[in-house]
Amino acid sequence: MEGFIRTGSPETPDISLNPILGRLEFSGKSLPEDPATFFKPILAWIDEYLAYPVSKTDIEIKLDYFNTATSLVLMKVFNKFQEKKNVVVHWYHFPEDEDMLESGKEFQVLSKLNFEYHEFH
């Protein structure tokens, strides 16, 4: 299976999906009006990956901003990993960005996945 790399734009995040390391990284900003279209190939990639996942999957969310439309898509990403073993979501936030931290905690409750919180440096 091949990796997936997409460079971001002012409205969309950088995406790097590595099936060998089991590392899915989203960084930058995500505020497209129609994130469903943008994320469609990513959700498809994840389905393919989940057929033969590696022993541990790390989902790195390094977003400094995302709109509410994106939050629905993120939820879809997390839901795909429900009941899968050894999945950790690494949720990054700026030290002073309490809202982003809280948002991570809400996703943790909604998805029931294992979350680890990290600060951007």
């Binding site: 002012p10 129609d34 901003y65 709109n67 509410t68 939050s71 629905l72 909604l110």
Partner: protein
């Protein structure tokens, strides 16, 4: 010809009101992106604290995308207005757009529902709406933007409907927040 004085007067009015950005015109996805780019630049220049900048930008995104995604095109009134400014100890994000009058009731109900909730209530509603939207597989996010705006603002959302003709109403919207966050 329009009086040249009126240009100066409009400029002076915007300066006096400490407007950070003002846009009047059509809002489609492409224009929305341009307005947001400009908004971000102006916020960087005119709002000193990162936290307030983040809040203003977040509210601006949801506000503009609400207009450009949810409002169907009304040929007769294609234009919307969008402003960010400050008054006293608050920043505010305001918008105005024309909607079909038959949507007024449901929008008003949703706004009242949001305005009647406290911080915890809004959090619960936010999570509930995310869950429901995923179950229904619907692309529309059913008021998630408004809930999110209310959560960022920490204040009641201001709104007003003005009947323009038998079919259309003007929807004015305003979300404000304190320049300095309250210390708990």
């Amino acid at each position: 010809m329009k009086s040249l004085n009126s240009i100066y007067e409009l400029h002076k009015k915007l300066e006096d009101d400490q407007i950070i950005i003002a846009y009047e015109g059509e809002l489609n996805p492409q224009i929305t992106n341009s307005v947001l780019t400009l908004t971000e630049k102006n916020l960087d220049k005119k709002i000193p604290t990162t936290q307030a900048r983040r809040k203003a930008f977040h509210i601006a995104v949801e506000c503009l995308q609400n207009i450009s995604t949810h409002s169907e095109k009304i040929e007769k009134y294609p234009n919307s207005i969008f402003l960010i400014g400050q008054e006293g100890d608050e920043f505010f994000v305001s918008s105005g757009n024309v909607i079909n009058s038959d949507k007024v009731d449901s929008l008003q109900r949703r706004l009242d529902q949001i305005n009647n909730l406290d911080k915890e209530g809004l959090k619960q509603l936010h999570m509930q709406v995310i869950k429901e939207s995923l179950l229904k597989q619907e692309s529309s996010n059913a008021g998630l933007g408004l809930i999110s705006i209310a959560r960022k603002s920490g204040k009641k959302i201001g709104y007003q409907f003005v009947e323009m003709d038998s079919e259309n109403s003007f929807f004015s919207f305003q979300a404000s927040f304190l320049k300095e966050p309250e210390t708990v």
